[in-house]
């Protein structure tokens, strides 16, 4: 039982729990996690930047910062009574300040104000709980003996945390016990409070350092039972010392066989069996339930601490469901909670006693890991989580698994993730909104991890194979398509039947918005593949023949992907009657494609098919035309760079461009220049037959597509002329020629048509002004 052993305290801390609430022991932890989540979600808004943002992960260190917690805690109460709450909060602040400053001399008014403030604190404490700072101040007040013991006891009784209690407050409070300013009953109450609130104290390391002090307090007869109970919760193996055992046995001799002493002794015996030879009676109940004072309050705190994940237990669905659903066994989230793995190395080693096994602290546990420097320092002795799935929620561990190439580690993650995806996938279940939300969140977490690693998980690949044929194209659309975009690089023709053919079916039968998001995600996919390949090239400097073939295979795969998207786009545009909106997404894709050679240093130039080129050229939308110009400009740069490189290397790579690619580009270029600039559209060699213009009745077709008359730019021409003659009722756009043509160009450029500018500057010599 590694879990049990690893944190015996947290288990025993639920000693007096009466309801069977599995979340109880991890209440403290879940708050921390929640805060972390809220912080990471803030950073995740800038999706692109966060994989490099180490600072964001540093935030984890501030988890225990009482301020952030208190703010958080204050936010949780119900919203509709906000106004009233605000006032009450002010009153609380005043009351706390009053107690902090201490009682005033004028005794008559003192009693009234004291009573008033006490009432305020009590009501607020029982309603919403107190922030760590408030508890800090009030504990100080209660134990410093400023007020009478009745007041102290009332204050102590309402020390109910909103979420957590800071460890430092407890340490400070304990220091008052040494001064002797508070009476016995206050001390007793304080220990009872400590026992009841033990789970809500954020850390216990410093408190544990005071172990000797607490142990010494056992001598006080009235305190003894309560201190015993507290020590029972606090004791670690290293606290068990022979002199303490002797002392306890002495106490037992003095006070008789008290159950609370037995409890502590049996715990000591559990940790160090060799130290205690006396046999202890097995008793079921060692301690009287000390919680009763705060029972209702504790339930409330626990609820507050769990609030943001209101996941009701899934009920077992009736026989009508296709899959039996399993109630969540151990955790509230699909992703396991982080616990260090002890078993991998020593679990089950013969001759190892349980207590040795519990006290191991040589290795650095994953729970301790809070910052990147810590990871670097302990990378050699890091103890991995017992359930590898926990790394999904921990970016530092994601860093770790990214650089450790341990196959079994990846396999553990693979097995868990595959099965969980399969089990939770909602289109295998009867429709259930709750499930959908949970599944969407789960997918979001996976995608976030993939973005962080810049790498897709194999499990997701397997999941896509299985689930894509059953997907309706609607459920979790955004997440599902993002999973596609993180599809690991592989041979396109091999995965085409499993992924891309099925995606095509959905593409053709879904709405334009679906088409756009598919194209958007395929663009991401292309980018991810290109990045992966360009990294791969840089790593492999040796060029042996086998690598060469696989490399050309990779290039083939990329060009197949591009051709596939081209095919999707043409047919999609046809189905959506050349929608400008869709065309934007198509051209966005080609903006990535045209720069492969220069941006990713990969020898590949793939042109767009004519079906896309001509639709864009003849579009009514100036931004489309502008984008087309930009793409043509980039193609030109890439092709010239590739050609130059080829001349230098004196070696022809089949993928850079065949002479066909160049011819094709020149044909496009001629068509564009002919239309926009020289007013001689569609000369020989273009795909377009000028006869079409005669058929549709445009006589002056030659000029009708130049920069002035082009339907996408005509409005610019008119406003250009109107700028010059604002009064004119009738303008003659044909008047734009010669010098005016150049002015008009400048006007177009100033209107933001930067793509056009780049295209004209690079592709057209200026002597040829028409």
């Amino acid at each position: 039982m590694p879990r049990e052993g690893a944190t015996p305290r947290s288990k025993r801390s639920s000693l007096t729990s009466e309801q069977d609430d599995p979340a109880r022991t991890c209440a403290v932890m879940s708050t921390q996690k929640r805060i972390k989540n809220s912080q990471t979600s803030r950073t995740s808004q800038h999706n692109n930047s966060y994989q490099t943002n180490l600072l964001a992960w540093k935030l984890n260190e501030d988890l225990s910062n009482p301020k952030s917690i208190s703010k958080h805690g204050q936010n949780s109460p119900v919203e509709d009574s906000e106004q009233g709450d605000e006032q009450a909060e002010d009153a609380l602040q005043i009351a706390v300040r009053y107690f902090e400053k201490g009682p005033f001399k004028t005794s008559r008014s003192k009693d009234n104000t004291l009573e008033k403030h006490l009432k305020t604190v009590e009501s607020m404490a029982w309603k919403n709980g107190l922030a760590p700072e408030e508890i800090d101040i009030l504990l100080n007040v209660a134990l410093s003996g400023k007020f009478g013991s009745a007041v102290n006891s009332r204050i102590l009784r309402c020390m109910i945390p909103a979420t957590l209690i800071s460890e430092d407050s407890v340490v400070k409070a304990v220091s008052w016990l040494c001064v002797g300013k508070c009476c016995g009953s206050t001390k007793v109450l304080f220990y009872r409070w400590l026992v009841a609130m033990f789970d809500f104290i954020d850390h216990k390391e410093k408190i544990n350092l005071l172990y000797g002090f607490f142990f010494a307090s056992l001598q006080d007869d009235t305190l003894c039972p309560y201190v015993c109970h507290f020590l029972y919760l606090l004791t670690k193996k290293e606290n068990v010392k022979p002199f303490r055992v002797r002392k306890l046995l002495d106490l037992q001799a003095k006070m008789g066989r008290q159950p609370y002493l037995h409890a502590l002794l049996s715990l000591y015996k559990f940790f160090v069996p060799t130290l205690i030879s006396v046999s202890l009676p097995m008793k079921k109940i060692y301690f009287k339930n000390p919680e009763n004072l705060w029972k209702t309050a504790l339930v409330a705190v626990r609820q507050r601490n769990q609030e943001p994940s209101p996941e009701p237990l899934k009920l077992i669905l009736g026989a009508a469901t296709v899959r039996p659903s399993k109630r969540k066994w151990d955790s509230h989230s699909l992703i396991p909670v982080l616990h260090s793995n002890i078993q991998s190395k020593e679990y089950g080693k013969k001759g190892m006693s349980l207590s040795d096994y519990l006290s191991r602290n040589r290795a650095f546990s994953a729970e301790q890991l809070k910052s990147f420097p810590q990871l670097l320092q302990n990378i050699h002795c890091l103890e991995l989580p017992s359930q590898m799935g926990a790394v999904l929620n921990n970016s530092l561990l994601l860093h770790y698994i990214n650089c450790i190439r341990d196959e079994s580690l990846l396999l553990r993650l693979y097995h868990w993730l595959s099965q969980t995806l399969q089990e939770e996938c909602i289109w295998y279940k009867v429709n259930n909104y709750e499930c959908e939300k949970e599944f969407t969140n789960f997918l979001d977490t996976i995608i976030k991890a993939e973005c962080f690693l810049q790498e897709g998980f194999y499990s997701c690949e397997a999941f896509l194979y299985k689930s894509l044929p059953l997907w309706d194209g609607f459920c979790c659309r955004s997440q599902f398509l993002q999973l596609v975009s993180w599809f690991p690089f592989s041979s396109f023709s091999e995965v085409k039947p499993f992924i891309f053919d099925r995606l095509a079916q959905l593409f053709f039968t879904s709405t334009i918005y679906f088409k756009c998001s598919v194209l958007e995600n395929l663009k991401e996919l292309l980018q991810n593949w290109l990045l992966w390949l360009s990294m791969d090239i840089h790593m492999k400097t040796v060029t042996d023949s086998s690598l060469e073939t696989t490399f050309s295979g990779s290039m083939q795969s990329v060009s197949e992907l591009i051709n596939y998207v081209g095919w999707l786009s043409i047919n999609g545009l046809r189905l959506e009657s050349n929608s400008t909106f869709l065309l934007h997404f198509v051209l966005d894709f080609y903006e990535k494609v045209c720069d492969i050679y220069m941006n990713y240093n990969l020898p590949l130039v793939v042109l767009f098919p004519p079906g896309i080129f001509y639709i864009a050229l003849l579009s009514l939308d100036s931004s489309i035309l502008n984008q087309l110009c930009y793409i043509m400009h980039r193609y030109r740069n890439n092709l010239t760079a590739a050609k130059k490189n080829e001349l230098i290397l004196k070696k022809k790579s089949e993928f850079i461009f065949s002479s066909k690619t160049c011819q094709e580009y020149n044909r496009y270029l001629t068509a564009m220049v002919g239309c926009l600039w020289t007013s001689k559209p569609f000369q020989k060699g273009s795909y377009f037959d000028p006869e079409v213009f005669k058929v549709i009745g445009i006589a002056k077709y030659k000029t009708s597509l130049n920069l002035v008359h082009h339907p996408a730019l005509l409005s610019y021409a008119i406003s250009f002329l109107l700028k010059e003659y604002p009064e004119e009722r009738r303008v003659n756009v044909s008047s734009i020629r010669g010098k005016k043509w150049n002015e008009y160009l400048d006007y177009l450029f100033s209107e933001g048509l930067q793509g056009l500018k780049l295209f004209i500057r690079s592709s057209i010599r200026h002597s040829s002004v028409p």
């Binding site: 639920s14 899959r323 679990y347 553990r412 099965q419 194999y458 023709s493 995965v495 004519p610 079906g611």
Partner: protein, 325 residues
């Protein structure tokens, strides 16, 4: 220009590079194979001699019979070792006690009132390569120290792998592949023990449903078993998908009749084909249609029960009788 063709030449070369020898990549390959368009298992061979008959402990097998088992599929166990079963018993029992008696001290060893026993189930495997199955039992211990210390069985679960060849290929040596888990006992216990396994061996349990396709295979193969005497009728349960409450149709026939029907559709001994299974079920359905004018093919098969065994679509099975010949 808009027909999309891909050249076929490079794929195999790429495959050699990308699908290397690592278990992870093998695994992906097998997933791809499984999702390709070939219909799953058009025919199955009935093994003539299984490991079960060779080195079986009859007492233990008898223990597995006549109980209803809930099925779970299980990912491979990480760092599980058959030599540590005794330690596992100790840790698991401490874990259970700790979870059950929250609020009480944790003691390890003697003073528990439950006992956990891990033991191997020899012979519960399809081939020699399959890892040994193992059994986990939770017994209640009586407080009387004298006789009958082995109290009654509170919960039983076992892990097995039968003909797991293609799964085993994809698992590296750190893992033990026992993909099927069967539990009998209170679900809270299953949850508790499952949690322990998940945490200790980084595995994951998920409920295993039996779809109608596999149920009809089970029906056919169980009907085929030759029995000396039939203790129960062969029963099918079909569920009619209609709201708000589903309607179930129960269909019972004499086991001898079912066997006769199967013998008439079954041809080659030692091998069962998909066509035979389909034909068997079609015959049953058309017989029903002749009498009640209800097309059972439009409903969903949810339960099959024969003299040999019964299975429900929600993943509960029960093996009643040993095959006697």
């Amino acid at each position: 220009m808009d027909s999309y063709d891909i050249p076929e030449s490079t794929s195999s070369r790429l495959k050699d590079h990308f699908i290397g020898a690592t278990p992870l990549q093998k695994r992906l390959e097998s997933v791809r194979k499984l999702t390709s368009f070939v219909p799953p298992s058009p025919q199955r061979k009935i093994p003539q001699c299984s490991q079960l008959q060779e080195d079986v402990d009859p007492q233990k097998v008898a223990f597995l019979l006549h109980k209803q088992w809930t099925l779970y599929s299980l990912t491979p166990l990480y760092k599980f070792s058959y030599t540590n079963l005794r330690e596992y018993s100790k840790f698991l029992s401490a874990f259970i006690v700790a979870e059950k008696q929250k609020g009480l001290a944790v003691e390890v060893g003697e003073d528990l009132n439950i006992k956990v026993i891990f033991s191997t189930l020899l012979g519960m495997k399809g081939t020699q390569r399959d890892p040994d199955a193992f059994l986990v039992q939770i017994l209640s211990k009586s407080h009387l120290p004298s006789e009958n210390r082995e109290g009654k069985v509170l919960w039983t679960g076992w892990f097995c792998c039968i003909f797991g060849d293609n799964l085993l290929e994809t698992v590296s040596e750190d893992f033990t592949c026992l993909p099927l888990f069967l539990a009998n006992g209170a679900e809270t216990n299953t949850a508790l023990i499952g949690t322990w396994f998940q945490k200790t061996f980084d595995c994951h349990f998920s409920p295993l449903a039996i779809n109608a396709f596999n149920l009809s295979w089970m029906a056919a193969m169980w009907t085929a078993c030759r029995m000396d005497h039939y203790v129960a009728t062969t029963e099918f349960l079909w569920s009619v998908p209609c709201g708000p409450q589903s309607l179930d149709i129960a269909y019972a026939i004499h086991s001898e009749d079912a066997k006769a029907l199967w013998d008439s559709v079954h041809k080659a001994p030692g091998e069962v084909t998909q066509e035979e299974v389909d034909l068997f079920m079609d015959c049953l359905c058309s017989h029903f249609h002749r009498h009640f004018k209800i097309h059972l093919s439009a409903t969903r098969l949810v339960r099959v029960s024969t003299s040999v065994a019964s299975a429900h679509t929600n993943g509960k099975i029960k093996v009643s009788l040993n095959k006697s010949s």
